[in-house]
Amino acid sequence: MKSSINARFALDYGTFNLDADLALPGTGISVLFGPSGSGKTTLLRCIAGLERPAQGYLEVNGTVWQDSSQGFFLPPHKRALGYVFQDANLFPHLSVYGNLCFGLKRIGLKPAAAGLEQTVELLGIGHLLDRMPERLSGGEKQRVGIARALVLKPDILLMDEPLASLDFQRKQEIVPYLARLHQALEIPVVYVTHAWQEAARLADHLVLMNGGRVAAAGPLAETLSRIDLPLAQDRKAVMVWEGRIAGHEADYHLTRIACMGAELYTTAIDASAGTPVRVQICARDVSLALEAPQATSILNVLPATVTGLADDRKGQTVVRLQVGAHTLLSHITLKSKHSLGLKIGMSVYAQIKGTSILN
């Protein structure tokens, strides 16, 4: 992996201390994931230079932003970054347009030259430009906040739980824009969240934080499938598969997705054939059988090989499976593991209900 963000930070606030070592790829979305208090937001703020007492080293795209051993600290306003705050943090005394132009004025760019119009369109905020922030909904504020950061064409985009303060409805409203960003952006994004759904939906690279430290890091699928981590034991554990829409069965409200060899049925996804999609398969919705079931309501039955087993000592076993080129996790009971006699290398059938595959 060619990493273009290298960070090492130590920060001691008495009750909380951060001691993190991080290497992130130069493209795609890296998600910092962990429970609250795990230091993910603090780490993001260190990258932005907003935690002045932090000691360490930071290099972004070959430019050193901080090197405490040399006494070097580039102040935040001199770092080519975009920062999206949890609650948008728009300037209340400026209109949406004023907020969008605030940074542009300071880097001496005309709105047209910066492509403000395209950014405004990408985030669907064209009708809001004259409004004051107090007259925006939470989701609208956040879209303006993202546009305000993006329009500066930063070398790196830092996003601090941009959806955390929004209700479910507003989240649904903004997620499609984030997914569009994912495709449109060439710069690396560091995205902080404690929500499974967001991490699984957006991440290319996953960094697990715990107690101020980096517990694990790597490409999304690789990290999710590490059964040695508590992550795989979590009742919300998922695996993520990338695929393309192969076709629809409109009568049944089903969509077929081709994922490198395997084909999955899911509840209908509103997109045309050929569209790339990412699906999440919850580990607790994957059951196992030794023989191909003959008559079953389960739509997806995939031949698989057991590649890993881990007991959680509470009667649950995580089974890691290889399905073609993909990895799959299954949560089964310890009793089932024993009655099936599961061992590494065994061939089994993984069964997934069509309704439990999430887009």
């Binding site: 907003l50 920062y83 728009l90 300037f91």
Partner: protein
């Protein structure tokens, strides 16, 4: 009606108050900003110093000032050495005293306004390439506007209302240090109650009007708007 002496006193009062307000804002703004942002252990001491005029009798403040700026005081020797003479019983001395006397009335509303802004807008500005000065003038000042207005009005009005300090270090020199409050005192001493009424009533009406305008404005700004 108002005599020439009274008009001169009014004009002098206005000049002292206006000039003092300008100095108060220039000195009070960085002081209030520092007091809001600093974690220094001197913060408590500075806050206490700034607030002293609130609790001290004006005569005490005036007395120490007189000692300091008089011909034998350290500041008096300095100003005399610089060929400026002493500040005692002069217009400039009155402005210096007014600034000290009214400082808490300017620093405290500014401090409250700065504290209410909090770190988030400053951090947003920093991530949008604004340096500290830029952020202060284009984010902090606009957001603290009601605070600046309150500070200016209170500073001005409080200076207009001073009496004890003036008497101690300014005396009663027409056109130099004889401000309205002193002139009212002169009239009363001379049993000219009619003229005292005109001046005193005028000052009362002025102060009342200023406070109404200020609270009206601040209420409008500070009332919580119902969520839409």
């Amino acid at each position: 009606m108002l005599g020439d002496d009274d008009l001169a006193a009014l004009w002098l009062t206005f000049r002292v108050a206006a000039l003092s307000t300008v100095w108060l804002l220039m000195l009070g703004t960085p002081l209030a900003w520092w007091l809001t942002r600093t974690g220094s252990r001197w913060k408590a001491v500075c806050n206490a110093l700034v607030a002293l005029p609130l609790v001290l009798p004006p005569t005490v403040l005036g007395f120490y000032l007189l000692v300091l700026i008089g011909p034998n005081g350290p500041i008096g020797r300095l100003t005399t050495g610089l060929g400026m003479g002493t500040l005692a019983f002069t217009f400039n001395g009155l402005v210096v005293a007014s600034v000290l006397y009214s400082l808490p009335f300017v620093v405290q509303p500014l401090q409250t306004a700065f504290a209410a802004i909090g770190p988030p807008p400053l951090e947003a500005a920093a991530t949008l390439r604004a340096g500290p000065w830029d952020t202060f003038f284009h984010v902090v000042v606009p957001l603290a506007k009601p605070g600046f207005l309150a500070a200016a009005i209170l500073g001005f009005a409080h200076t207009v209302g001073e009496f004890g300090v003036v008497l101690m270090i300014g005396g009663n020199i027409p056109g130099q240090t004889r401000v309205v409050s002193v002139q009212v005192y002169n009239h009363v001493e001379a049993l000219e109650y009619g003229q005292a009424h005109w001046l005193a009533g005028g000052l009362l009406a002025f102060s009342f009007a200023v406070l109404i305008v200020m609270y009206g404005f601040l209420n409008h700004r500070l009332t919580v708007q119902p969520a839409k």
